[in-house]
């Protein structure tokens, strides 16, 4: 195998150029996925080079995983083959930015922050403050399909990704969509790339609709004794004329993690969040964006809502701009914070109808207690739950408990007609649990699509199916 790898490296070096290819085990070790190391790392500088590498992989039937900054590469099942890591960070330019058209076209390997800066200068933004965004590439954000609190008002990437260029499994450069905000020309293939984990194609460039940044924002935190009370308050907000940018429910343990992170921050904020919220509570975090008149109106609406007899809250805190930015930063980075605090955490993403959220949260809490595992919850009012089960260490008996709990969570979600996945968990757990949960009826159709895009199953084989 070593000789074969060396041969592949030499041939790729000769085809692409030695500076873009490495077979050095220490370099390859940086690209490990679920304890499997590739034997080649290729870092192309342009789309044509990337396509050449794919064609080589197709010829030699090598398993290839495209990647960016590798912040979310652990999402998915362990790869069944992994020979080549295709590092796309060499493709990192903003190809077009038309502020007047509110559109931007960016290479997949560009960092989210590198894109955010020029948008910010034009008072625009892309509503994707997803977990790890500060060190993520745009391509990685789309391929991993992670969401953010702003989905409540802006939708998910499928609502503002307007086109893409990518390399299919035959090594050809293809495209879908375009650079205009309204376009129904041809199949919407670019939508399939969202959450595809690199299994369909190598994303080369992405086109987005951008959004004007609101001049003012204001945060409101309603603390309640129980999750039911907090969700009931959330319903009051939803039924009001307000159109919040985000509504998220944070469990007391998760808020404690935010406060701890704030305490450990190298630059403590002028107005810390510490001490502002009651302990042992659920916290409904609502952000409002708009003009100062809109934010003032929101303050009046919250004053009205807390006076309603059905509002069972213990406290309402209005946050200023800086405090709000802090809280929503931590809220957006819940997953990195959780993984930092508990590297063996199992973090589920569950989608459920909003009306079933209350029941689900109660049942999930019961399951975690039964497994004697500490838990945190982040629940979006639009029906997304991030449940983290936090074993104190990776010892086998605890892993077994996590495995049992995962089976119970998947079973519960099936009975609740919710879809569930386990995007973050230790590799050892993936040997016992399918992180995609119960097989879905439409997986067979997805396999057909995978075969259409990638006939030889080169791309991230085994990660999704």
């Amino acid at each position: 195998m070593f000789n074969a790898s060396a041969n592949f490296v030499a041939r790729l070096e000769s085809a692409i150029g030695a500076s873009y290819i490495s077979g050095d085990p220490s370099v390859c070790a940086e690209y490990v996925v679920d304890e499997i190391s590739p034997s080649i790392v290729a870092k192309p500088a342009c789309a044509e080079q990337a396509a050449e590498i794919v064609r080589f992989a197709a010829l030699e039937k090598l398993g290839l995983i495209p990647c960016g900054n590798r912040t979310k590469l652990e999402i998915g099942m362990p790869p069944s083959r992994y020979d080549v890591a295709l590092d796309m960070t060499g493709l990192n330019k903003i190809a077009h930015y038309d502020p007047g058209d509110l559109t931007v076209s960016v290479d997949a390997g560009a960092g989210f922050n590198d894109l955010a800066a020029p948008l910010y200068k034009q008072k625009q933004f892309l509503p994707l403050p997803v977990p790890f965004y500060f060190e993520s590439t745009i391509g990685g954000i789309i391929a991993s399909g992670v969401d953010s609190a702003l989905r409540h008002s802006y939708g998910t990437a499928r609502d503002f990704l307007i086109g893409a260029e990518f390399i299919d499994g035959t090594g050809h450069l293809c495209k879908s969509g375009g650079r205009v905000v309204k376009n129904v020309t041809g199949y919407d293939l670019h939508k399939l790339l969202i959450g595809s984990l690199g299994t369909l194609a190598v994303i080369n460039r992405l086109n987005f609709r951008t959004f004007p940044a609101a001049p003012v924002s204001r945060g409101f935190v309603i603390s309640c004794r129980t999750s039911e009370d907090a969700l009931a308050f959330s319903n009051l907000v939803e039924r009001s004329p307000l159109r919040p940018a985000s509504i998220d429910l944070v469990s007391s343990q998760l808020l404690q993690l935010f406060l701890q992170a704030e305490k450990n921050s190298p630059e403590p904020p002028a107005s810390p969040l510490q001490g502002k919220f009651p302990a042992d509570s659920w916290h409904l975090c609502v952000s409002i964006e708009g003009t100062s008149e809109v934010c003032e109106r929101a303050s009046r609406e919250f004053a009205r809502l807390i006076s309603l007899p059905e509002a069972k809250h213990t406290q309402l805190v209005t946050l200023n701009e800086a405090e709000g930015a802090d809280l929503w930063h931590y809220l957006g980075q819940s997953i990195p914070l959780l993984l930092q605090a508990s590297p063996t955490a199992g973090i589920f993403k569950i989608n459920i109808l909003p009306s079933r959220l209350g029941t689900l949260l109660q049942q999930l809490s019961g399951l975690a207690e039964q497994a004697s595992l500490p838990q945190t919850v982040l629940a979006r009012a639009c029906g997304v739950v991030y449940l983290a089960l936090l074993p104190p260490s990776g010892e086998q008996p605890l892993l077994y408990r996590l495995s049992e709990a995962a089976a119970a969570v998947f079973s519960l979600c099936t009975s609740e007609n919710a879809s569930a996945a386990l995007p973050w968990c230790p590799t050892q757990l993936k040997r016992q649990v399918n992180v995609w949960g119960s097989p879905r009826a439409d997986f067979a159709l997805m396999r057909r699509l995978k075969a259409a895009f990638d006939p030889q199953d080169l791309f991230a084989p085994g990660r999704l199916f």
């Binding site: 919407d188 959450g195 959004f211 993403k349």
Partner: protein
């Protein structure tokens, strides 16, 4: 008769109308159509065959106000869903001009838009799940009621696939809450250029209205004579703008839009005083295509898209093309998102005129593509624009689209001759059309 039907003619050999209780046809060579309002020929039986008409599968199966969802059969008329959701303070956001007659199945097939898609997106942004019948008769569900299920976004692929991949027999949609306040503004201009520059400026000022429609002088005079919507007959262009949301947000946006209009020499900016006036203005907009029928025996509606900053030069170019080919070209379109609807007025009885109308239209579409735009913003490719697809897509793009098509519809039973140019589509459809039945969807 719609424009496409006038310019392209094709008839099925058989029609089949599945009743509401027949949720899913089982045979591979059976049932699809809706209301036949499409403008790209997506619902025409290009190769003859068997057309399935979904008009009788028109039940709203459920409305779930708490979760803002509805489940409907494909034959439900778009506006009927909004009427049914209204008592709950909800509505179905996609609002094509034909919303009082077009079906949601047709909206899904073509990924239809409408004036308010500027703020709320096209059909795909409001569909979370579909029940499908594949050509082999298998019934499958894709997506989920809540949306965002793990795996590939199959719902996103099937919406807008123009009936070429599967038949849609049930649709789960997201309903939207009605806003607290709505303001409709009519900005009147003495120059088309000023109106176009205003649209660019509104976007540049970071205002995204719910709708931003433009009617040029030619169109608005015809519409005014027909609908009496209150458009001033002596103006060169009007913009119909709408802002929605919290009362405070609406007030601020309306003021900023008025400022932008005035900065570009608007003669007047009028705010609709009440719902009746608002509805009248929209009646003028939505009945414009019908009104244009009074002017010429036939017309050809285009659907090209351009980057919105290029609106002023695009309108000048369309005028120039019209003059060169000797046609009056009316413009009534979704200015806010750059979705043009130039309408070429011609007499189909004059063969030479018909040919010239098609040439002028192709030139306009080519200009849209050269300007960085697209062939279609909301009408779909159908059979009308299939031969123009190579303007945007390479052989590799077609190869991949072909493989995706064949993954679901390998024998080309469903809606052959659509989306793909004939040379790149189902290779032998012209031969097969004479010997076997095919299925077309509307």
């Amino acid at each position: 008769m719609n424009t496409t039907a006038r310019s392209k003619k094709a008839a099925p050999i058989w029609l089949f109308f599945p009743p509401p209780q027949k949720r899913s046809p089982k045979s591979s060579n059976l049932p699809p159509s809706g209301a036949g309002t499409g403008l790209s020929g997506g619902a025409l039986a290009r190769t003859g065959g068997l057309m399935i008409v979904f008009a009788r599968m028109n039940r709203i199966l459920s409305i779930d106000p708490e979760n803002q969802r509805a489940v409907v059969q494909p034959g439900v008329v778009n506006f009927d869903l909004t009427l049914a959701a209204e008592p709950h303070g909800l509505y179905f956001a996609p609002d094509p001009s034909s919303q009082k007659s077009c079906t949601i199945g047709g909206n899904v097939a073509e990924n239809a838009g409408g004036p308010h898609t500027l703020a709320y997106g096209v059909t795909t942004n409001h569909v979370t799940a579909l029940e499908l019948v594949l050509p082999d008769g298998e019934i499958v569900r894709v997506g989920s009621t809540q949306g965002d299920a793990p795996g590939y976004d199959l719902t996103g692929l099937f919406v807008g696939s123009e009936g070429t991949l599967a038949l849609v027999t049930e649709i789960t949609v997201r309903l939207s809450p009605k806003p607290e306040a709505v303001k409709t503004l009519l900005a009147i201009f003495d120059s088309v250029d000023d109106a176009a520059e205003t649209v660019v400026d509104v976007t540049a000022r970071a205002i995204i209205p719910a709708a931003c429609e433009m009617l040029d002088g030619w169109t608005l005079r015809v519409v005014e004579d027909f609908v009496h919507a209150g458009f001033p007959r002596d103006s060169a262009a009007v913009l119909l703008l709408e802002v929605e949301g919290l009362a405070e947000a609406v007030a601020g946006q309306a003021a900023a839009i008025t400022e932008a209009c005035n900065a570009h020499r608007a003669r007047k900016v009028r705010v609709a005083r009440d719902n009746a006036e608002r509805e009248l203005l929209w009646k003028g907009r939505k009945n414009a295509f019908g009104a244009l029928g009074r002017l010429a025996p036939s017309n050809y509606v285009l659907d090209g898209v351009i980057p919105r900053t290029k609106l002023p030069q695009a309108l000048r170019r369309i005028r120039e093309i019209g003059h060169r080919y000797g046609f009056d070209i009316a413009n009534i379109f979704h200015a806010g998102d750059g979705n043009l609807h130039p309408i070429v007025l011609y007499d189909p009885r004059d063969k030479g005129q018909f040919e010239r109308a098609m040439q002028a239209s192709a030139e306009i579409i080519r200009y849209c593509v050269e300007a960085g735009g697209a062939l279609t913003g909301e009408h779909g490719i159908g059979m009308e624009k299939a031969e123009l697809m190579p303007l945007l897509f390479s052989d590799a793009d077609f190869d991949l689209m072909r493989r995706v098509h064949d993954a679901f519809n390998p024998a080309c039973l469903l809606n052959p001759g659509k989306i793909f140019p004939l040379s790149k589509g189902c290779g032998e459809i012209r031969l097969r059309a004479k010997s076997s039945a095919h299925v077309s969807v509307a």
